[in-house]
């Protein structure tokens, strides 16, 4: 026993010493990423191949990463923050952990409504949140707008994911921005009344319920549809692009959200960090991003791959995506009020 304990204490000591890793001479960047490893690693590897710059990353949820950046302040070792959802990027700007970047390349590769207001962050991909319907029970002509799903005729025919997911919070936030809070609340309350089942914990479960005729239509992100269709090609589901026709709010287009990246205020490697962002918006990287997760490229010059083209072209909402962040808290409260779980 005595020997066992002595050995374990000794090994603990060795561990602690071994952990103090030596400084590496190669230039490197540290990314705090809310995007998952299998979606970013291939990109960073390619970048390292081309430039020799090593990209390290720590993955976590956006909230904890942001809190960590704030707490670390000027001493933060992170150079970039990469996350999904405009709401999170907006919040990062609000708490002042990102710094503005002036780059002609980025200004031409990333459309203005998909950047932070002071160019403190840039979108990398666009994610469309659209409708999915059961092709056995519905046809495209039955569907029109997000708002129409609140009509009584859809009672017991709608499936939704939980309001706790930021994608739905952003969807409702942009609805507040276009329709006003009162009307948006009526629409969401109508959705809740029309639910066939309790909200689901993820988009795939929504689609499975639609496919098994537990309901007829749901609202999901397109890449989940792509993933499910790849696994089960026979599944009776199709995408529908809502809000394509008509005036004003009615024809505003499909709700889009983004994934994006910004340089931290504490970064000591601003030039390299900017180089990485610029590279991520080039056609090569954009194509990799598109193929990895079936998200839409943010660079308008990049052609969509075959799979995305097969889903059809659509008009996306042109609203400044920062609005989703500004109104996110209001959206959460609105959904709480109407009992959307």
């Amino acid at each position: 026993m005595r020997r066992g304990l002595r050995y374990s204490l000794l090994s603990l000591l060795i561990l602690l010493v071994a952990c103090a890793e030596p400084e590496q001479p190669a230039p490197e960047l540290l990314v705090y990423s809310a995007r998952k490893e299998h979606l970013i690693k291939p990109l960073f590897d390619r970048f390292t191949e081309q430039t020799g710059v090593v990209v390290r990353y720590v993955t976590d949820k956006a909230g904890p990463l942001l809190t960590r950046l704030q707490a670390e302040g000027e001493n933060s070792p992170a150079d970039l923050l990469m996350t999904v959802d405009a709401g999170n990027l907006w919040q990062a700007t609000e708490v002042g952990v990102l710094q503005p970047v002036e780059s002609a390349i980025l200004n031409s590769n990333v459309p203005k409504h998909l950047r932070g207001r002071d160019n403190s962050w840039f979108s990398l991909t666009i994610r469309a949140r659209t409708m999915v319907y059961n092709t056995d029970t519905l046809s495209a002509s039955d569907l029109s707008t997000y708002e129409a799903l609140a009509q009584p005729e859809w009672a017991g025919r709608l499936c939704l994911r939980t309001s706790k997911k930021v994608y739905n919070q952003s969807l409702v936030a942009t609805m507040i921005a276009t329709l006003g809070e009162e009307q948006a609340e009526q629409v969401v309350a109508g959705w809740v009344d029309n639910l066939a089942l309790d909200p689901f914990s993820n988009d795939t479960k929504v689609m499975e319920a639609v496919a098994l005729e537990q309901c007829e239509v749901g609202i999901v992100n397109t890449y989940y549809y792509g993933r499910l269709k790849k696994q089960k090609p026979e599944i009776p589901l199709a995408l529908f692009w809502p809000n394509q026709q008509g005036e004003g709010a009615q024809g505003r287009g499909v709700h889009v959200n983004v994934s994006g990246v910004g340089i931290t205020r504490a970064s000591q490697n601003k030039v390299l960090a900017q180089q990485l962002i610029e590279w991520l918006t080039t056609p090569e990287a954009q194509r990799m991003l598109m193929d990895l997760n079936q998200e839409y490229p943010v660079n308008p010059g990049v052609e969509m791959n075959a799979e995305l083209q097969a889903w059809g072209l659509f008009k996306g909402d042109q609203i400044d995506v920062s609005e989703a962040g500004r109104l996110q808290a209001a959206a959460v409260k609105l959904m709480d009020r109407v009992g959307y779980r």
């Binding site: 998952k36 949820k61 960590r68 993820n202 996110q328």
Partner: protein
């Protein structure tokens, strides 16, 4: 009869006799005391950070919560806590009683098999259960194929299912602790009760159960604290609890202060519950008699034996075998291409972190237990505060730890660096030490239960005898205490090891680059709903978690 020694004697400090024994011991005593207080203060730092949040005014958020969701959340949380608390106690105690005191076919296997669900992370069981029983799962699809279009799909996302999942994952806490308590009991006491006219049930409820109560309560409170802190499982079922409100305030309303205020209410609740239990236990204390211990297993009648075998097997089947088979099927569908050098590295880091955290945490828990014993009665409550953090949702505790570390980094260490004219660099945050510290702060409560209850089993006469034979200080500790405490320490290490491996939020937030664990990999897959791809790391995690569990079982089987 349960207490053969006079109460005043048995409730005194077990090594009271040592205090007279020379200067070396007095020095050791001071060291233990100071280190114990330091441990508690470290463990309390994140809690203090969380309480600090009350300095900011969050009236608006509170008004919103009260007006909309709060009553539902409180109701759900209460239902969950009561359901899981009763469930784990009944299941854990009955299984432990059957395997320790009775003989029935398959007992030797089930005895350790019933501990295996310990290695199953709650969030994994949740998504496996949903994967099997959901609309699109094999069960309902099979029924649908069999019954045709007449079959009506059933939504399994029900309150009762959430409770069942948590009970199946958390009952091993009670089972393991109750089992070792029953093992330590001599059947003589039960026999004496029977001779004095008590029937079997009365002997159980009147003698065996009260004697095992500290262990059972320790197990149940771990399960309840885990339930309060759980987010992964309830999120899979979209079941709203108090934790949901905490995360909603943080991630949805971008309001960490309000989230911390909500979390501090959880702490208050747990503190009150633990205090109430202590009060009701009162000053009673049980010490085993010094005679040689006898234990006879009761041979059950064939019918009863069959029922016992069936009961234990069903629990093991649902809690462990079925989920593992489902994971295995998913792994086969997804393929094994994920296994490469990086995957092995992942495995190695997981083991390394789990092992070193287990040693560290148990050592500190032992220190705490000694130090607590030496403290005055009033001060003991102070020591109990150190274990409250376990009830906090993982991410919230992780942030509390992170903020207290950054405080040290920015306020204490940065000036030193500046003084040495070195570039400022966070020393604690982003180091393995920070991660290990986070683990012991979180899992001190887990180690505390078995360590403390095994320390309680040391009769005062043992150290007194050792002292009278000239043993003192370190040699008393190494040669007398540690051998007796060994089973308890081992249980504690297994619990912490397995818990650390399953731990997700603190690992995510505090790990240095390259220190990914299996749990991190599971998170990467499940956060986008790709549950099948998470099957391989989940299965690996369970299998690796089995090793220490089996080792502990083998150690205790010899007794």
């Amino acid at each position: 009869m349960a207490n053969p020694l006079p109460a005043s004697f048995s409730s005194s400090h077990p090594y009271r006799g040592m205090a007279t024994n020379g200067q070396g011991f007095r020095r050791l005593n001071t060291v233990v005391k100071v280190a114990g207080i330091f441990t508690v203060l470290m463990a309390m730092a994140p809690l203090i950070v969380i309480l600090w949040s009350w300095g900011s005014d969050q009236t608006e958020t509170w008004q919103h919560l009260i007006a909309t969701q709060l009553s539902t959340l409180l109701r759900n949380t209460l239902v969950l806590v009561i359901g899981v608390g009763v469930g784990v106690t009944v299941l854990g105690v009955s299984l432990a009683w059957l395997t320790v005191m009775c003989e029935f076919p398959g007992r030797r296997w089930l005895d350790w098999g019933l501990m295996l669900p310990m290695a199953m992370p709650a969030y994994v069981l949740a998504f496996v259960v949903l994967g099997i029983f959901d609309f699109a799962g094999p069960l309902q699809q099979g029924l649908h194929a069999w019954l045709g279009s007449d079959y009506r799909y059933i939504d399994v996302r029900h309150e009762a299912v959430v409770i069942a999942v948590l009970v199946l994952v958390f009952y091993p806490y009670v089972y393991m602790l109750a089992r070792s308590a029953f093992l330590a009991q001599s059947t003589d006491v039960m026999e004496a009760a029977r001779v004095l006219g008590a029937n079997r049930w009365r002997a159980f409820f009147g003698v065996a159960l009260p004697m095992a109560r500290p262990a059972i309560v320790a197990g149940s409170s771990l399960a309840i604290m885990e339930t309060l802190a759980d987010f992964g499982t309830v999120a899979v079922f979209n079941y709203d609890t108090f934790t949901t409100a905490i995360y909603k305030s943080w991630f949805g309303l971008f309001n960490l202060q309000a989230a911390a205020q909500l979390a501090s209410l959880l702490l208050l609740f747990v503190a009150l519950a633990l205090m109430a239990e202590k009060q009701s236990r009162g000053r009673r204390s049980y010490t085993q008699s010094g005679r040689k211990q006898h234990r006879f297993r009761q041979q059950l009648s064939p019918l009863k034996a069959f029922a016992a075998t069936a009961f234990c097997s069903v629990v093991m089947l649902i809690a462990f075998i079925l989920p593992v088979l489902q994971l295995l099927q998913w792994v086969l569908v997804e393929g094994l291409e994920l296994i490469d050098a990086r995957y092995l590295n992942l495995l190695w880091r997981t083991l390394l972190l789990g092992g070193s955290a287990a040693v560290l945490t148990v050592a500190l828990a032992l220190l705490l237990a000694f130090s607590r014993r030496r403290a005055k009665a009033r001060l003991r409550t102070f020591y109990d505060l150190g274990t409250l953090g376990y009830a906090l949702p993982g991410s919230v505790l992780a942030v509390g730890i992170m903020l207290s570390f950054t405080f040290i980094d920015n306020q204490l260490i940065a000036p030193v660096f500046e003084w040495l004219s070195l570039p400022p660099k966070p020393l604690l945050l982003g180091s393995v030490f920070a991660l290990l510290a986070a683990y012991w702060v979180r899992f001190l409560a887990v180690a505390n239960g078995p360590v403390d209850s095994s320390l309680q089993r040391i009769r005062p006469s043992i150290p007194e005898a050792a002292c009278s034979l000239g043993s003192s200080g370190w040699s008393l500790l190494w040669q007398v205490y540690l051998p007796i405490l060994r089973p308890g320490l081992l249980t504690a290490m297994v619990l912490v090891f397995v818990d650390v491996m399953k731990e997700m939020p603190a690992t995510l937030l505090l790990r240095p680059y390259g220190w990914d664990t299996l749990a991190v990999r599971i998170y990467e897959m499940t956060s986008e709903g790709e549950w099948q791809r998470a099957a391989l790391p989940a299965l690996t995690l369970i299998l690796v978690g089995l090793l220490p569990v089996i080792q502990a079982v083998r150690q205790s089987a010899g007794r």
